[in-house]
């Protein structure tokens, strides 16, 4: 069935705080959060998305481009992508993106993908563990005017201008055929992401964005100047591209806080009671107080 052509895949990834492993040190006693204590990780389902794209490349040939939007330190997930087999990685970063909700984020990402030009497949994890919204993928697809296959578990066939994929959700599975280019949001059960390759880890260890040159110079004083470091990295194809709002020709009114229809009105911290629990007396008063507490914390309606 294969048409013998290769495919260009774009993968959207995100660096997220590891919310699944929040410990007592992260949530302070007064209920505020110590963000510094939260390790930043590659969003788990984005690794499944990258793996699916790499498998397309393994089978049909082509290219895998990884884009992340985030602060300068998000370059870490781009290096991780290079270690696993990505061909090209791009950091989309700008102070103007700060405070973006899913609508403003998807707008910025869609501008970056438009700048990228032709692609056949766009991949993203089903959702990110910091927000669990599952919105940015479909919203980016909408802005690009391409169809979407959410909860993708398996690519069954790629035939020139169509993809056949299996979707998986709690109540069943569905096999769909969709015109390219399209978005696939990938579920965690799709595959086992490959580990970083030892060879590529050595090869791309120095890969860096210009935003990281200053700190790199401290580690490698022999380069003396940023320009010398830049030359070294450019020749070896280790310079990670950085795109700003201006680079992707984004309309500033649609970016960041200004471009976000949703605003956070207030945040209430849920205080974790370390490991010890609260003993409730098995009588009417005890139970009544318990229910009142649960109602106040929005646990029961």
């Amino acid at each position: 069935m294969s048409s013998g052509r290769s495919y260009h895949s774009v993968v959207l990834v995100k660096q997220v705080p590891d919310t699944h492993h929040i410990t007592g040190e992260v949530m302070k006693k007064d209920g505020t959060m110590n963000r510094g204590a939260l390790p930043a990780i590659f969003n788990p389902e984005d690794l499944n998305a990258l793996e699916m794209a790499l498998q397309v490349k393994d089978k049909y040939g082509g290219q895998v481009t990884v884009i992340t939007m985030g602060p300068p330190k998000a370059a870490e997930v781009l290096r991780e992508s290079l270690y696993r087999g990505a061909d090209r990685v791009i950091l989309l970063t700008d102070k103007k993106f700060a405070g973006a909700d899913t609508l403003a984020t998807s707008y910025a990402l869609s501008c970056a993908i438009q700048k990228l030009g032709d692609y056949d497949l766009m991949f993203a994890g089903r959702q990110a563990i910091d927000g669990d919204t599952a919105q940015v993928g479909p919203q980016t697809a909408e802005k690009l005017g391409i169809p979407q296959i959410t909860y993708a578990e398996l690519i069954l066939d790629l035939d020139g201008d169509e993809v056949v994929a299996q979707r998986a959700f709690e109540m069943g599975t569905e096999i769909v055929k969709c015109k390219l280019p399209c978005l696939l949001t990938v579920v965690g059960s799709a595959n086992r992401p490959r580990p970083a390759s030892a060879r590529r880890r050595i090869e791309y260890k120095l890969a860096a964005t210009p935003l990281e040159y200053k700190s790199l110079l401290k580690q490698w004083p022999e380069f003396e100047t940023e320009a010398a470091l830049e030359d070294y990295l450019t020749v070896r194809n280790l310079k990670i591209e950085v795109w700003t709002a201006a680079d992707v020709e984004a309309d500033e009114g649609k970016l960041g806080l200004a471009g976000s229809p949703t605003q956070v009105y207030k945040v209430n911290f849920v205080v974790l009671e370390s490991t010890d629990n609260k003993e409730i007396q098995a009588n009417r008063e005890g139970i009544k107080a318990l229910i009142e507490e649960l109602v106040q914390e929005y646990i029961v309606g």
Binding site: P17, H20, I22, M33, D101, T102, L103, I129, D132, T133, A134, V136, G137, P138, Q139, P147, Q148, I149, T150, Y151, M171, G172, T173, E174, I175, V176, K177, C178, K179, S260, P261, T262, Q263, V264, Y265, K266, V267, N268, F269, V270, L272, E273, T275, N277, K278, E279, I280, Q281, A282, N283, R284, I287, K288, L290, I291, V295, E297, Y298, I299, G301
Partner: protein, 340 residues
């Protein structure tokens, strides 16, 4: 139209069966519309689903926008989104609520992006209230306060969408209470002719397999489970009653399944379903590792056991040492009291 501030609910149906979450949203939507002094409208898409429209009215809608078309027989993102996007542009609802089901979470972001509306996922509560925007220092009355857990459930955020309407939110199944249908309720059914474009059919469904399960532990916001400490069907019925009052699902440890009180599809644990509800009530469950592995990431755990040293208490947030025969009825009573 714009000053009507109507509340809309997306009615999700498969094979002529309306999803529970849609009925629950009709209940919540009715409350919000009453609070705003406006109408509750429902958007119903499908093929040969006209008879469902009356049901939607019985559950609280004033008007049903009915798009009945062969291309809408099975849910597909683009044709369904087309119907909703065109309707929103023409009629400008104030609020649009969608179930946070696999279909709703596929549909809502697509629609929100097209109409440039704010969308908040997985709300656990919706209220009407005032908000003073930091952007322009203006106070906006009667906004939808969209309350949801964030950061892996470690905080509760209230989100508002003061400027770009509709205010959109998704809500998980089992979070809101399903209203009692009123068969005497009257409403308007308005037929809509969808204006599809060729690109809307970019995706074709080749086959689908649905598991006919009435149990949806994974999506449940609340689960009440029984274990080896349950010694009679009457006691297990108490847990069913509690789950019903909470709008939650019934779960079980392997001991209760093996004892025949409930079918295996209700089993929580390594060999059953892994769940992470907002509230997990473990009644008469000792807390073997295999059960704990399937529920220990629950946001809040209440454990009820006669043995003060039961391992379940190690992971419980609330420890109740007592007999479930006595404790469970007390919880039901307290909840009913609260609901009054």
């Amino acid at each position: 139209m714009t000053d009507q501030r109507n509340v809309w609910v997306f009615i999700e149906q498969e094979e002529g069966v309306i999803a529970d979450v849609s009925l629950e949203l009709l209940g919540k939507g009715r409350d919000l519309a009453n609070r705003l002094g406006s109408e509750l409208w429902a958007v119903l898409g499908g093929h040969r689903v006209e008879e469902l429209a009356e049901r939607v009215i019985h559950y609280g809608a004033d008007r049903v926008l009915l798009a009945d078309h062969p291309e809408l027989e099975l849910y597909r993102t683009l044709p369904y989104a087309r119907v909703a996007i065109d309707l929103i542009r023409a009629r400008q609802p104030y609020i649009f609520l969608v179930g946070a089901s696999p279909i709703g979470r596929d549909f809502a972001p697509r629609v929100a992006s097209a109409v440039r509306a704010g969308l908040t996922a997985d709300c656990t509560d919706l209220q009407i209230g005032a908000y003073t925007s930091k952007k322009d220092n203006q106070t906006h009355q009667d906004l939808l306060l969209q309350i949801r857990p964030a950061f892996g459930g470690n905080l509760i955020a209230t989100i508002v969408n003061p400027h770009m309407h509709p205010q959109m939110a998704t809500v998980r199944s089992g979070v809101m209470r399903q209203p009692e249908p009123d068969s005497s309720r009257q409403g308007v059914v308005e037929k809509i002719e969808p204006a599809f474009e060729k690109g809307d059919f970019a995706l074709q469904i080749l086959s689908r397999e649905t598991r006919q399960s009435t149990v949806n532990l994974k999506d449940a916001a609340t689960i009440v489970s029984g274990g080896g400490g349950v010694t009679s069907p009457e006691e297990f019925q108490l847990l069913q009653d509690l789950a019903h009052v909470l709008g939650g699902e019934v779960g079980a440890s392997r001991a209760a399944v093996d004892a025949g009180y409930i079918s295996r599809e209700h089993q929580v644990g390594q060999t059953g379903t892994t769940v992470r509800p907002r509230l997990y009530i473990a009644a008469g469950i000792s807390g073997a590792v295999q059960h704990r592995a399937g529920m220990d990431e629950s946001h809040k755990i209440i454990a009820i056991n006669t043995d003060p040293n039961a391992p379940i208490f190690d992971i419980a947030h609330y420890k109740i040492v007592g007999d479930l025969k006595e404790v469970v009825p007390m919880i039901i009573e307290a909840l009913r009291e609260k609901a009054k």
